[in-house]
């Protein structure tokens, strides 16, 4: 049984990688993957905490409440991918590029 700090650290690292990717990369697909990474780091954290509470508190019959949230996140992420990828495809058809810095027409 690993201590909870390991999970938190891993999750933070994954989230940090994801956030750095979103902020620094210009390729839309990579940004997309980074978003997924951030979502999954949160999933990992949820599962870990859920498990921890289950062990620490044997009065509880079930320790899976937070794990349910994970499924929601997955479903939402799947739907988001479906929409997002099609947006990227349409974008590519228009400008023959997936570089997000091309999309600066609303620049003030």
């Amino acid at each position: 049984m690993l201590p909870i700090s390991y999970y938190i650290t891993l999750s933070l690292i994954l989230f940090g990688i994801g956030m750095a990717g979103v902020m620094l990369r210009r390729n839309a697909i990579v940004i997309f993957m980074c978003i997924e990474l951030m979502l999954n780091s949160v999933n990992l954290l949820l599962v870990a905490f859920s498990k921890m509470h289950y062990h620490a508190n044997s009065v509880l019959e079930k320790g899976t409440d937070a794990q349910l949230l994970v499924f929601f996140i997955m479903v939402v992420a799947a739907a988001e991918v479906a929409v997002g990828l099609s947006v990227i495809i349409l974008l590519f058809r228009k400008v023959y590029s997936v570089d997000i810095n091309v999309l600066n027409r609303l620049k003030g």
Partner: protein, 630 residues
């Protein structure tokens, strides 16, 4: 009568709808047929009403109710017609003269692009005028009152491409509105005091218990009503719109601004004669205002050179005499003069229209002269009109004017004296007009006058016949025993007070003196103005020619200060105040956004960084708060 009474106003209204909606589709002959036919149908029905209306001293008015305009516990205003002798007489005048003028217009306006529009407006006018005289309460009279004002506005500004005409239309409308305020306030006051707006109920309350209403209330109400009458009937101080209203086509001047609409004030006061008779102060005011108007405008009419302007001032002057007669208590004489005046003034206006038509839209009498050679029918009928208005014995104007003067004499000899002078001046300016137009030689050698078509001359002939014979329904007792049919006819509406205490000898003398002076004035006018026009006016004549500077007075006292007030408000309130504030808000937010929008640099990564910074800051603030609260 019940079956067809509502058709009288309805048919002209349908005519208005058909001609108005089909103005681009219908042919001119069809428009003429519908427009004139509608009024003719109303005229025939009006004759039937006139034949069967109850008349005499104890006749009760017939009331036909259609529906309620307002029906709440404290106020009932029905849409109902009240038919009595006075209404039936006005119905005849409106539809009869109206029909002749419709026929006349079909020729006069035949070249005009807005032919169908013109007829639809005329029909709408007839409709509103009928509502005005047929209503059984003040609200319906007010509806008609406003409606005829609207039609007057539309028809004065009928040739709306000319800015001068538009100005005249606006002037007429605004001056009428000033009077209308009086009408509205009077209505409110009547409702407050009497609790109802129906004539019959108001007057019966007054008759049952006159002491229930103080003199102040009655005087106030009647003065407000009279203010409305001064607007509509063009009396001092609101008369200046009527001469300007001559901008409209001549048939309009004849129908609206001579024969019918401007007599609405007389009608209203006669309708409410119980109220007015209970307010002697108001009657005094009416008498003085009427006679002053008559005198002022008669002097102006003597020095005008525009043929329609002379007739316009003459109309105001005659209306002034009618009001002076009403103020003297001679209601029936005033109504009698309304009727005869409708005939001969419509005749004169239509005759002037025929002259203008024949002279190719020339209105300046200084360019006319000798037209009797070119326009025989117009000449003869016009002469009859002039004789009638001058009051030559045997013609209608003689009887009605004589009766009005008699009423004034009984009431106040000074007013009678001025009325006498006005009558002489009337004869003078009418024959000045006649001589300048029809006698001598044609002054404008370029013009080729021609006689007007039959559609214009036939109405002239009919009106000329009426101008001669209409007076015989009101022959005074002096000439014939039981002669005054009109007085008997109207006695149910207007209670006749005590008989005039004037001996026949006095009456003969008054008539003789007036006739002598009138004949002298006619002789002098014809002698002076045959082949002669007025030169540059000086002194008092200049004062008359410039209309007593009343327009200038109003301009300087009211119009210009208002414009200046508007300028001040525009400069200091609108521009320096409101606009500065509103524009300032815009400028400030514009400047601010100019700096803030630098953040929108189009770099998605930058946006996300800001988002992260924002979230982190948010969380930090949350934890700070949490820690502080610990």
């Amino acid at each position: 009568m019940e079956q067809y009474i509502w058709l009288i106003p309805l048919i002209p209204f349908i005519g208005f709808l058909i001609n108005g909606l089909g103005r681009n589709v219908l042919s001119k002959s069809l428009v003429t047929f519908i427009g004139s036919g509608a009024v003719l149908a109303s005229f025939i029905l009006s004759i039937m009403v006139f034949m069967s209306v109850p008349s005499g001293a104890d006749a009760q008015p017939l009331i036909f109710k259609a529906f309620d305009i307002i029906n709440i516990p404290t106020l009932q205003v029905p849409f109902a017609f009240q038919i009595d002798a006075l209404t039936s007489l006005f119905l005849l005048i409106i539809t009869g003269v109206g029909f002749l003028i419709h026929v006349y217009s079909s020729a006069y306006m035949s070249e005009d692009k807005g032919f169908a529009k013109f007829f639809s407006y005329l029909n709408l006018f007839i409709f509103f005028m009928l509502i005005l005289v047929m209503g059984n309460n003040f609200v319906m009279m007010f509806i008609g009152w406003e409606g005829v004002g609207l039609c007057s506005f539309l028809l004065i500004g009928f040739w709306f491409t000319n800015p001068e005409y538009i100005k005249a239309a606006k002037k007429a409308f605004i001056m009428n509105r000033i009077g209308d305020v009086g009408f509205l306030l009077a209505m409110f006051w009547i409702f407050k005091e009497f609790g109802t707006l129906e004539y019959v109920k108001v007057f019966s309350q007054l008759a049952i218990d006159p002491s229930a209403f103080t003199g102040f209330v009655l005087t106030g109400i009647t003065l407000l009503l009279f203010l409305a009458a001064t607007g509509k009937s063009a009396q001092l101080p609101l008369f200046t719109w009527l001469p300007d209203a001559m901008a409209g086509p001549t048939p309009v001047s004849a129908l609206i601004h001579a024969a019918t609409m401007v007599t609405a004030g007389i009608f209203m006061i006669t309708r409410c004669n119980e109220l007015f008779s209970a307010a002697p102060i108001t009657l005094q005011v009416i008498q003085y205002v009427g006679i002053a108007t008559a005198f002022v405008t008669a002097t102006i009419a003597m020095r005008q050179n525009d043929i329609k302007k002379v007739l316009a001032y003459s109309t105001v002057s005659q209306l002034g005499l009618m009001f002076a007669a009403i103020g003297s208590g001679a209601y029936i004489a005033a109504v009698f003069h309304v009727m005869t005046h409708a005939f001969f003034k419509a005749l004169l206006f239509l005759g002037a229209g025929s002259v203008i038509h024949g002279m190719h839209h020339e209105q300046d009498m200084r360019k006319m002269g000798g037209l009797s050679k070119y326009m025989k029918i117009t000449h003869i009928t016009f002469l009859i009109g002039c004789l009638a208005i001058a009051g030559i014995p045997g013609l209608s104007g003689f009887f009605s004017k004589d009766e009005m003067l008699l009423g004034m004499f009984v009431s106040n000899p000074v007013v009678y004296g001025i009325g006498f002078i006005v009558s002489v001046m009337t004869a003078f300016y009418m024959f000045r007009l006649y001589a300048m137009t029809f006698l001598g030689d044609l002054r404008d050698k370029e013009a080729h006058p021609h006689e007007s078509p039959a559609a214009m001359t036939i109405p002239l002939i009919i009106l000329a016949v009426l101008s001669v014979f209409a007076g015989y329904i009101g022959i005074p007792a002096l000439f014939m025993q039981d002669g005054h049919k009109l007085q008997t006819f109207l006695s149910g509406v207007v209670s006749i007070g005590e008989a005039h205490h004037v001996s026949h000898a006095t009456e003969w003398m008054m008539m003789g003196a007036l006739l002598l002076c009138v004949l002298g004035a006619i002789y002098y006018a014809i002698k002076k103005y045959t082949n002669h026009v007025d030169g540059e006016a000086t002194g008092i004549a200049k004062f008359f020619e410039d209309k007593w500077y009343i327009d200038e007075l109003y301009d300087n006292a009211i119009v210009k200060p208002l414009f200046e007030l508007g300028d001040v408000l525009k400069k200091y309130v609108e521009k320096a105040g409101i606009a500065a504030f509103v524009l300032g808000v815009g400028t400030v937010s514009g400047r601010a956004s100019k700096n803030v929008r630098q953040l929108q640099n189009g770099n998605v990564g930058f946006y996300i960084m800001l988002m992260v910074v924002g979230i982190v800051a948010g969380i930090a603030i949350f934890f700070m708060g949490y820690l502080i609260s610990k």
